[in-house]
Amino acid sequence: MDFEPSSEQQMLIDQVRRYVREEIIPLEAKLDPDASELPPEDFKRLTDKTKAMGLFGIDIPREFGGPDIDIVTRVLLAIEMAQHRAGLYVPCYGTFGGAGLAQIFEANEGQKERYLYPTLRGEKKAFFGLTEPSGGSDPARAIQTRAERRDNGWVLNGAKIFISNADRAQYGIVFARTDASKGRGGITCFIVDSDTPGFHVRRVVHTLRSSHYATELEFKDCWVSDHQVLGEVNKGFAVANDRLTRQRIPYAAGCIGVAIAAHEMAVEWAKMRSTFGEKLANRQAVQWMLVDNEIDIRTARHFTLEAAEKARRGLPFRTEAAIAKLTASEGGGRVVDRAMQIHGGMGMTKDLPLERWYREMRIRRVGEGPSEVQRMVIAREILGSNLR
């Protein structure tokens, strides 16, 4: 496969690269190193700019008003968008918009009116509520939140943990068990408004990420109508699985962007810094770290573009997405770690973005399915699907 960008793709890449370097990086100098949002006036000014560039909401399909950019191009752009301090989790501080929750594109017309269109207009935000205290790697077995049939609707009881953005969202996609006798065939997906009585965001879950935090949820006799079922009753696991698989590709792209930025910083530093009368760049020990960085970045880029290309062509890409997520999150973590080492003491400080990337990259080996689960997905492909 040829992964060299076409001239059109290169033009978009250059546009986004300029935007990141001229608009985002200088603004970050004024922000707290852990900040994940811009002051409202900067956010508005920059969002107007991305709209004028025709790149607002790049993951929104054309039928819903998006610019119709294919997934391979989106990966190439996501790699650029991540190359700044907050980039790994909040590429360009959300100024390129984005639907966030692709599965509501599959919602019925009433749900689209109520949730999808306001989300696309930026009036509503959503969360994705899958993980529970009983586990996130194997949700088909772990989900204990129950939804029981009552009064033309459902009553939800249970808890979720590690849910990003739930305290700021107007609604969320929540997975609950509707048939206790079945595993993955007994889970239903509900759209829950945050002002529904019985829905509570109990606390912030503090992680090493600090700014873009997760939360703990409780459902206490929380009644939702039949209209709130997304898709079909007992078919919710497929919705979750589809979202997780798709999400792994942009997730990998973000890791690659940060790895490229960290590697560039390490190369510059190695050429500039001298010890024992010699530039660091002349030391084989340092050169080899840079070589390993290059290999980790190219490997992750290759596999992520391969996964995106399969998705673009409508081919199965589950294994490829797992390989992309694995190589990018693990390789990206190694690159940032080596870049910190080459920077010595400076690498440990909050003066540089490396320590933030180091912490966020560590989370990426667990979030959206831990590395071990990605390996399990790949092993099933190698050994046969009857392996459970």
């Binding site: 190193p33 852990d34 945050s194 965001v201 109990r202 503090h206």
Partner: protein, 113 residues
């Protein structure tokens, strides 16, 4: 596992000698009036030259005598700061007066049990 949502340590006087002894660490703090009414919830982030000490020195210089403070050393100073603001809002129906003048964008909502 018990998780402390509220910052309920004893108040200390916001005075030069108290503040001079503070650590140069990251964290969160509250400033209260003489009756212990929370006026402001702040954070000492990486841009504070001496962390909590410099933030509370600044508070003292701006507010003068008669206030109190309490603090928590915390590496997760931003998520903890957001959490304290949201818990205050849930408990009192509004932000502390000095935060209400300049609230952080997109502050979320909690309903702590």
């Amino acid at each position: 596992m018990s998780i402390r949502l509220r910052l309920d340590k004893p108040w200390r006087p916001l005075a030069a000698e108290e503040v001079a002894r503070l650590p140069g660490q990251l964290g969160v703090y509250q400033v209260g009036d003489a009756q212990g009414r929370v006026l402001f919830i702040g954070q000492a982030g990486a841009r504070s030259p001496f962390g909590l000490r410099s933030e509370l020195q600044r508070e003292l210089a701006e507010r003068g005598a008669g206030c109190q403070f309490r603090l928590e050393v915390n590496q997760q100073y931003r998520s903890r700061w957001f959490e304290l603001l949201m818990v205050h809002q849930a408990d009192h129906g509004r932000l502390p007066p000095d935060n209400a003048e300049n609230p952080p964008p997109n502050l979320g909502r909690l309903s702590p049990s």
